[in-house]
């Protein structure tokens, strides 16, 4: 639910789309995320890097409204928000594309495209799906992304991984997302397909969207990213502007973080 219902000042470019301060998430007594700061403006790509279990998915679930933060504030266009459900986040213009949860594989491409925001016509009990319009829009929107499908009636499970991701991105852009979160969009893809997805990220950024790109591959992140948040075991290893960090430093920070973690682990064992 919104804690501040005032109209968002979307037109002021100085105000970040999303700003998170001192975000923490506890699951019972275990701490999944602690003291994380991050922000992103329109037309920027924020990369969130980290190894498995670093807290990346907890981080995005809080932004996407699937979980609520235990501590800290989350501001959309300068207004403090707390999302009670994915619907809340969507209404605030934040769309999330999950790597494996994004689609219903058995359903057709157009049904997936409009799932949750279907177009209907008619009135009362005669309200029915406007199938023709939805098929046409889905086909056109996908074409804009460079995916030319002969038949949007085919099950989305028959598309390639890169195409599925792109359908999901096209979908969120069409529904007016201001901020798109991509959860590991390239990790399950081959080199060529990953390139396709990176190009869509750049396209979305150039169209004025904010993109949060989650990955554990610095070589995918560096070329498109404007800002990098590195997570390690639930803690932030800092938020770095692209100007302040080289790809070598980024890679070193990620692996250095891992070394530090294993060192801490060894010390723990020595003391007991």
């Amino acid at each position: 639910m919104s804690e501040d219902t005032a109209q968002a000042t979307e037109l002021d470019p100085g105000v970040p789309i999303l700003a998170m301060t001192q975000i923490a998430k506890h699951y019972g007594s275990s701490i999944a995320l602690q003291d994380v700061d991050a922000h992103i403006h329109a037309g920027e790509v924020l990369c969130v890097l980290g190894d498995n279990g670093a807290g990346k998915s907890t981080f995005i679930k809080i932004i996407a409204g699937a979980h609520q933060q235990t501590e800290g504030t989350l501001a959309v266009y300068g207004h403090n928000r707390r999302f009670a459900s994915p619907r809340d986040a969507l209404d605030a213009g934040i769309a999330t594309v999950y790597q494996d949860l994004a689609v219903v594989p058995l359903m057709s491409v157009w049904r997936n495209f409009f799932l949750g925001s279907e177009i209907t016509r008619g009135w009362g009990p005669f309200r029915r799906l406007d199938v023709a319009a939805m098929k046409r829009i889905a086909k056109d929107e996908l074409k804009k992304m460079g995916i030319d499908l002969r038949d949007v009636d085919q099950p989305i499970g028959t598309l390639s991984g890169g195409e599925r991701q792109s359908v999901a991105i096209a979908r969120s852009v069409y529904f007016g997302a201001k901020l798109v979160i991509l959860d590991e969009p390239t990790s399950a893809l081959g080199v060529k397909q990953a390139g396709v997805v990176l190009r869509y990220i750049a396209q979305a950024r150039d169209a004025g969207l904010g993109v949060i790109f989650i990955t554990h591959n610095p070589h995918h992140a560096y070329p498109v990213g404007d800002r990098f948040l590195i997570l390690n075991r639930g803690k932030s290893l800092g938020l770095h502007e692209k100007a302040d960090i080289s790809i070598a430093e980024l890679t070193a920070l990620m692996s250095g973080g891992a070394e530090l973690a294993s060192l801490a682990h060894e010390l723990e064992r020595a003391s007991t």
């Binding site: 996407a64 994915p86 058995l106 049904r111 799906l129």
Partner: protein, 335 residues
């Protein structure tokens, strides 16, 4: 696949494009294996008994099918979401007993009977739905609990005995003819058309498929999964209530054993129709075929005067064989 059009007419254009008549015929036959199986069964009974293929007997089949049709339609929705409703048989019993009890208590206010029957069914469905969605109880367990509890209530209403002495007017619900059809048959036809429309052409229908196909994706896309699930169980329960009224009106009495085991025939009809018990796959057309196969077997085996225990054996074996052939045929079209 999410085709929800009658399979017989679906994709005819795709099938016929650039193919010989023979290839088209084979494709149609293989795609509609269950239609063929039903036709073979019908032809066999018609051949064996002159009484089978008469208008009177068709009417008998339809009247017998009607109460099953309603719970099979409810079951279709539930199974499409990946759930199951085991309680419908017992809900039929408790609704029938409640309606008969009401009719005996207030014989001059018979309109109360359908209200009570439907209300009791909706109440049971609401409890199922809340248990499944809000309290995350697995549907099998939640509705198994309801099966037991509703059956207990059904016995409690009559202190363990059936309810007799129901006013004759009570029989009107099942026996009045409207548009040349008895009310239950009319309800069945309206039900099939309505459910076909809902699943194929409405947001609610699309979301039911989405929940069964990938519940988390649906939820993340903003589909109110909990509310939709509650509705689905509510509808299943309500239809069981109506079904209970029709059955007890037909025999102008209430008995706590009415509807016993009906849930299995309803589930069988849906599954014979090609629905997946994991959800997301199934059609109203398929349920109609499944229902008709079961009802035709019931009727035909009866007409051939086959002893009841052998009827059960034959019916069970044929249902399993029919599904095996259908699955085999479907797999052949895909490869």
């Amino acid at each position: 696949m999410t085709r929800t059009t009658p399979a017989f007419f679906a994709n005819v254009r795709q099938l016929t494009e650039g193919k010989s008549a023979r290839e088209v015929a084979t494709a149609l036959l293989v795609r509609n294996a269950m239609v063929l199986i039903l036709l073979v069964v019908i032809c066999y009974f018609a051949y064996r008994s002159a009484r089978f293929a008469t208008l009177d007997n068709v009417t008998t089949i339809l009247i017998a099918a009607a109460p099953f049709a309603l719970i099979a339609l409810g079951q279709t929705l539930v199974i499409l979401t990946g759930g199951i409703d085991l309680s419908v048989g017992s809900v039929i019993a408790v609704s029938a007993m409640s309606a008969a009890w009401t009719a005996v208590r207030v014989p001059d206010q018979l309109w109360l009977a359908p209200v009570v029957a439907t209300g009791v069914g909706l109440l049971a469905g609401a409890v199922n739905g809340l248990l499944v969605s809000r309290f995350s109880v697995p549907p099998f367990v939640a509705t198994l609990g309801m099966l037991t509890a509703a059956s207990g209530f059904a016995y409690a209403i009559g202190n363990g005995a059936p309810i007799n002495g129901v006013p004759d007017g009570y029989g009107a619900f099942a026996n009045t003819e409207v548009l040349g059809m008895k009310i239950p048959v009319l309800l069945m036809i309206v039900g099939f058309i309505t459910f076909w429309f809902v699943l194929r052409h409405t947001t609610f229908g699309l979301r039911i498929y989405a929940i069964g196909g990938n519940s988390s994706a649906a939820s993340l896309a903003g589909v109110p999964t909990e509310r939709t699930r509650v509705w689905v169980y509510l509808i299943s329960g309500g239809l069981a209530g109506v079904s209970g009224l029709m059955i007890s009106s037909r025999v102008i009495s209430g008995s706590p054993t009415l509807g016993q085991g009906y849930e299995l025939d309803a589930i069988a009809a849906v599954v014979i129709g090609g629905a997946s018990l994991f959800g997301g796959r199934g059609t109203v057309w398929g349920t109609l075929l499944g229902l008709m196969l079961i009802q035709t077997l019931n009727n035909g085996l009866q007409i051939l005067v086959i002893p009841p225990y052998w009827q059960a054996v034959i019916k069970g074996a044929l249902i399993a064989a029919a599904v095996a052939i259908d699955v085999w045929a479907t797999r052949r079209t895909r490869s």
